[in-house]
């Protein structure tokens, strides 16, 4: 099945209390599946559900994007920039 490295940023980092962790994949997974698992595991992430985006290997992806062994996944709250 493999595993991915998940990186948390800004409010998501505060909510989870970690900068990064390795997450094992359960069968075929999409970005949406993975986000659902993280929301179950970290209730404090749930208020951010609608505005969080995920990246896979540094590209923002849709919920339907497949996640593969060795990927780097970013959990990205809204940006205010500059």
């Amino acid at each position: 099945m493999g595993s991915v490295t998940v990186l948390y940023f800004a409010g998501a980092r505060d909510a989870v209390g970690k900068r990064r962790e390795v997450v094992n994949l359960e069968g075929k997974s999409t970005a949406g599946d993975l986000l659902d698992r993280l929301l179950r595991e970290y209730p404090r992430l749930r208020p951010m559900k609608a505005t969080i985006r995920l990246s896979i290997n540094q590209e923002v992806v849709d919920a339907s994007a497949p996640v593969a062994d060795g990927d780097e996944v970013g959990v990205l709250p809204p940006v205010a920039g500059g």
Partner: protein, 145 residues
């Protein structure tokens, strides 16, 4: 194609002079530079400091992508872009974008496009310190490229 300067996220002070020097070009008639600085005022009151947190690897990829977008849209000469991370005081420089081109219209349009894209597509967050409190500045969901 003309050479380019810096495209990085840095934890060190940004020197706008250095970024401007990087886009100097004898075929350029116009250079436009945008300098973003930490403002004293925020909705919550007077700002003591602003902390920038970046997903550095993705942000630097984003800067290279933005440069490619700019070059697809305008015949610019050189482009240089730097974004800070870390703790900044009021008045300190958070971001600089410099674009040189033969004629000024392209330099203005390209520079503005680049900073708009930096602000909406780069994974960089800011947390303001106001009266001893920390607050992530609310923005919009990050746009895909």
């Amino acid at each position: 194609m003309a050479r380019s300067g810096t495209r990085e996220v840095t934890a060190h002070d940004i020197d706008p002079k250095k970024i401007m020097a990087e886009v100097a070009d004898k075929d350029a008639g116009g250079t436009v530079v945008f300098i973003g600085t930490v403002r004293r005022r925020s909705e919550a009151g007077d700002v003591d400091a602003m902390e920038y947190q970046a997903y550095t690897k993705m942000a630097e990829k984003g800067l290279r992508r933005i440069e490619a977008e700019v070059r697809e849209k305008w015949p610019v000469r050189r482009v240089s872009m730097v974004h800070r991370e870390g703790l900044l005081k009021v008045g300190e420089v958070s971001v600089v974008v410099a674009v040189s081109s033969e004629h000024r219209a392209e330099a203005f349009e390209a520079c503005r496009y680049a900073i708009d894209r930096i602000k909406t597509t780069l994974p960089i967050w800011k947390r303001e310190k106001v009266r001893g409190k920390n607050r992530w500045v609310e923005g919009a969901p990050i746009k895909s490229a």
